[in-house]
């Protein structure tokens, strides 16, 4: 029964210990110190991952830690949706974690970084395992607080301001959501996540229109974390300033917390049947479509690689939200599949950008001519996942977009059912436009390029192996989608 607590408490406690005691308690020269730190953090990370997987496999009962007030328990329970997000988190956190052991060599305050990294890991697990809305909210706030130090890690003025921006946007969003929690708390029998929703039928009849507004405010609030228009501006500021592996975690996993939040409130609190066909659904779909298009457009115009990837995250997350907003089985499957696909792909993209920065120090796309000749393995991985994000078969992105588009077409929503796939296609084109120049210029620098000054700059194994693993995973999703879609069908049929 306590197994469910271990993947939450262990990383949080070990992260806290690392933060408090590490700097003072070690003797010896810098190099030896670093080695010890890396070994300790690495083993803590692996232990956490193992604990998480054990919990996912064995813990079936829910566990109530304590009562915040008489009617507000802090409860953890593992369900299929939580498992999906938790698995993504474990894989990405592990890969990015090992990548950072190599990458963080050129940054200061390493122990602080690993400390917060572990904290974030624990909080993410808690979010995935949260059994009711109030537990979820608690860890949603903690996620913002514990991930902020990763954003402002290098301590420069720019980073601190970005961290603040992240904090304000996230807190504002969380409070908008809290505003909704108060209403639900009053108008429902329970806050426990229940497939199909928890609203009282009598309340729905009485306050129906008001509850729609509440749902919309909550989606906007949690949508801040998922970078949904109009509160997306923090994302392209905050993600690029973090160290590359932290950006990968932010873009691949932490923003997914916003997605998970929206899944929880739409499908487990309000219930899709209540929201489907309302003005709220239409408004929400419009917002996601605007975000998809705008994100791709902004990414297309952005010269700095990491920033470009951040804009791409804005756009891609709204693919997922679009799938959630259409609210039928196909689109929801597509959305959930895209959670996985985008998670791996975006992590690889950011790690590749990190590897490029680490070895060459180049940040702008137009400086990257010939990079493919210098770091062939990295850029190959970059290219493969790019194709996935664009949606070219047989990669994962193709399958998820297929589901999204067909789901939209069969939804029967006026205008939006066709407009959705159109915008998805336009955006896919733009995605190709902003991702592939790196590949094209990297492998084909042109005739006037001085091949003489090329040198092998492939980064160390610690960097390439995590990239490789996640690239393979993203391709596997595309090659064997049935394994996952079967699993997703179980989730989808439960909540719809």
């Amino acid at each position: 029964m306590y197994l469910i607590l271990l993947p939450i408490l262990f990383p949080i406690l070990s992260g806290a210990i690392l933060l408090i005691f590490f700097r003072t308690s070690l003797k010896g020269n810098e190099k030896a110190k670093r080695k010890t730190l890396v070994i300790i953090s690495g083993s803590l990370l692996v232990i956490t991952a193992l604990l998480t997987i054990t919990a996912l496999l064995t813990a079936k009962e829910s566990f109530t830690l304590f009562y915040l007030t008489e009617t507000l328990p802090i409860t953890f329970a593992i369900d299929a949706t939580g498992t999906l997000f938790s698995l993504l988190a474990v894989i990405v956190m592990l890969c990015a974690g090992f990548f950072s052991f190599a990458y963080m060599k050129h940054e200061d305050h390493e122990s602080r970084y690993y400390g917060y990294y572990l904290l974030v890991f624990g909080v993410l697990n808690a979010l995935c395992f949260a059994g009711n809305l109030i537990t979820f909210y608690l860890f949603f706030e903690l996620l913002t607080l514990s991930s902020m130090p990763l954003v402002l890690h290098n301590g420069s003025k720019e980073a601190v301001m970005a961290g603040l921006k992240y904090l304000f946007y996230s807190l504002c969003g969380a409070y908008a959501a809290l505003f909704g929690i108060y209403f639900i708390y009053r108008n429902s029998t329970t806050l426990t996540f229940t497939a199909g929703g928890v609203l009282n039928p009598s309340t729905v009849a009485e306050h129906g229109s008001f509850l729609l507004l509440v749902a919309f405010v909550m989606i906007l609030g949690f949508g801040v974390k998922a970078g949904m228009f109009p509160m997306h501006a923090w994302l392209p500021t905050a993600h690029p300033v973090a160290p590359a592996p932290a950006s990968a975690v932010l873009s691949a996993v932490i923003v997914k917390a916003g997605v998970l939040a929206i899944i929880r409130i739409v499908y487990y609190i309000f219930g899709a049947n209540f929201l489907r066909g309302s003005w709220m659904q239409t408004a929400w779909i419009c917002l996601t479509l605007i975000t998809i298009f705008m994100g791709s457009m902004l990414a297309y115009r952005e010269p700095v690689l990491k920033k470009r990837l951040a804009y791409s995250t804005v756009s891609q997350l709204s693919y997922i939200l679009f799938g959630l907003a259409v609210m039928n089985d196909t689109s929801l499957t597509g959305g959930l599949l895209h959670v996985l696909a985008h998670g791996f792909i975006k992590a690889v993209l950011f790690l590749c950008a990190g590897a490029i920065i680490y070895t060459t120090g180049k940040t702008r796309v137009d400086e990257l001519r010939g990079i493919g000749k210098e770091m062939p393995l990295t850029i190959w991985c970059y290219t493969i996942v790019s194709l996935g994000l664009i949606g070219i078969p047989p990669t994962g992105g193709f399958i998820s977009k297929w589901y999204l588009a067909t789901g939209s077409l069969k939804s029967g929503l006026p205008i939006l059912d066709v407009l959705g796939p159109v915008i998805l296609l336009v955006s896919a084109l733009l995605t190709a436009g902003y991702l592939l120049p790196v590949t094209i210029q990297g492998f084909f620098p042109g005739a006037d390029y001085d091949y003489g000054k090329l040198e092998k700059q492939e980064p160390s194994k610690l960097m390439t192996v995590p990239i490789l693993i996640m690239t393979v995973l993203s391709v596997l999703i595309g090659l064997f989608p049935n394994l996952i879609t079967d699993y997703l069908t179980a989730i989808v049929s439960a909540v719809l």
């Binding site: 304590f66 009562y67 915040l68 007030t69 008489e70 507000l72 305050h109 109030i134 909210y137 608690l138 706030e141 903690l142 607080l145 402002l152 301590g155 601190v160 961290g163 603040l164 904090l167 304000f168 807190l171 504002c172 409070y175 908008a176 809290l178 505003f179 108060y182 209403f183 708390y185 009053r186």
Partner: protein
């Protein structure tokens, strides 16, 4: 009558006489006496609280041998005993946390004077909490004002003298209005004991007599106490008084003195006027509106402040606004939320003041934000404590601030007309809180390459660190196991009837 029923009287008398005794003792001995008295009173209140919880009945205690309409009375219920206990805890921690600063800021020869004032303040707070007589309440309001002025002025720099004078003028204005209200009330009812006034007032209301004088009297008392507890827009005295006095004084003033007046107001609402009669007047709407304005303007002033102590002081204005907003909702739930916020704010604000002093000490005494950069690394305990306090203020779950916000919003959802206004302002004010507290936290945690200021280690400040830890624990206890406290508040309010 059980022996324990003497305890409220003992606590008041003990703190009153220890004040007198302190004037003859050397500073060190006065300090010991002061600590012992606070602890003793705390223990007495705790026993009283347990006793009251077990009997479940409030009791009235005659001062002297005259029965009800003539004699003076003390009355104790769960809420009174609980408040007294809580006040003692906060006062002890604030005194212990600021003890080391006293040597730097107050002339050695005046130390025992300081302890006299603190003891008197404790005495007046206890009397305000326990008394059942309006005139006694007025007398102790004055004693409270005078000792508070002394606490501000004891650190003799220009700003504190100015602040004390300001405080004096505003406070006297407040107590003057309270006295006016009291006179009119006495005129209307012919009584000074709370229970007797209440009977007469309900009779007057039932017969529809003297409606306007009654309202005027209630309004005067409310405004008087609002001025004294620094409700917006009567808060002009506050930032200087909290910002420049010595740190124990600031912590005590912000978390206890203003709360004593608010508690008196609660007693007046419940025990003198009657909750329902009070809610049927328009006064609660006025309190509601000013509460909301305080929440916003207090925070805006805090954001614009460049001095950490004054920033914390301005944040008090916002928090007092929360409490009055709860009053203004006019429901039992709103009142419970307000009382919980009294506790939560007292625990958090004194923590912030005490932690801030640790941060300014390692920044060459400067309170400007620019100098505080990286202060949390120089004094780790103060940094962590300040962060905990800030998180509580911002309303992050697990800390007390979250629970009071939760209670406020639950109360707000039940009031039809005021729901949207209170929830929206609650939201805005939370975000504003987040802006200035997080700004400060990030500032103190921003690393500096070479610092010209030296840090401080745990060994040099053991006592201080322990106090900070106690404060954090208090906050987390209020945040994690709030239900017993809320139950106790509800029980206590039921005993007021």
């Amino acid at each position: 009558m059980n022996f324990i029923c003497n305890f409220p009287f003992f606590s008041i008398l003990l703190s009153l006489f220890s004040g007198t005794v302190c004037s003859m003792l050397p500073a060190k001995a006065a300090k010991v006496v002061n600590r012992v008295v606070i602890i003793t009173v705390g223990i007495l209140s705790a026993i009283l609280l347990l006793y009251l919880l077990s009997t479940g009945e409030p009791f009235v205690y005659w001062m002297g041998h005259f029965p009800a309409p003539w004699g003076n009375e003390i009355r104790a219920g769960v809420l009174e005993a609980g408040m007294a206990l809580f006040f003692c805890i906060i006062m002890y921690l604030s005194m212990a946390g600021g003890a080391h600063k006293l040597y730097g800021e107050v002339v050695e020869s005046k130390h025992n004077l300081y302890y006299i004032l603190v003891n008197l303040l404790l005495c007046s707070l206890l009397a305000l909490v326990y008394t059942n007589d309006m005139f006694t309440a007025y007398v102790f309001v004055e004693i409270n004002t005078i000792s508070a002025c002394g606490l501000i002025m004891i650190r003799q720099v220009g700003r504190t003298i100015e602040a004390a004078v300001r405080y004096m003028i505003m406070s006297l204005l407040g107590s003057g209005l309270l006295l006016f209200g009291l006179c009119i009330m006495y005129d209307l009812t012919g009584h000074l004991l709370m229970s007797n006034i209440k009977e007469s007032v309900s009779l007057l209301v039932a017969n529809g007599e003297y409606q306007i004088p009654l309202i005027v009297s209630v309004a005067l008392m409310c405004v008087g106490l609002c001025i004294k507890s620094a409700l917006f827009p009567f808060h002009a005295w506050l930032p200087d008084a909290y910002g420049y006095s010595t740190v124990s004084s600031a912590a005590i003033l912000s978390s206890l003195v203003s709360k004593g007046y608010i508690f008196l107001l609660i007693k007046i609402i419940y025990r003198v006027i009657g909750f329902d009669i009070f809610n049927s007047t328009r006064i609660i709407d006025v309190l509601f509106v000013f509460g909301l304005m305080g929440m916003i303007f207090g925070s805006i002033s805090a954001i614009r402040e460049n001095d950490i102590r004054r920033m914390i002081a301005f944040s008090s204005v916002a928090q007092i606004g929360y409490i009055y907003m709860g009053f203004g909702m006019g429901t039992q739930a709103g009142m419970v939320a307000s009382i919980f916020h009294i506790l939560s704010h007292a625990a958090t604000k004194s923590l912030l003041f005490i932690a801030a002093i640790g941060l300014t000490d390692v920044s060459n005494g400067s309170r400007k934000f620019i100098d505080l950069t990286g202060a949390a690394y120089r004094n780790k305990w103060a940094g962590a404590a300040f962060m905990a306090g800030s998180l509580s203020m911002v309303g992050v779950p697990l800390f007390s601030g979250f629970i009071s916000k939760l209670l406020f919003s639950q109360a707000a959802v039940q009031v039809e007309g005021k729901m949207l206004a209170s929830l929206i302002v609650l939201g805005i004010s939370t975000v504003l809180n987040a802006i200035y507290f997080m700004k400060t936290v990030i500032r103190i945690y921003t690393p500096v390459k070479e610092s010209s200021y030296s840090g401080i280690t745990f060994r040099e400040m053991k006592g201080y660190a322990v106090v900070l830890v106690c404060f954090i624990v208090l906050n987390v206890i209020l945040g994690v196991s709030s239900q017993p406290v809320v139950n106790m508040i509800e029980q206590g309010l039921a005993m007021f009837a």
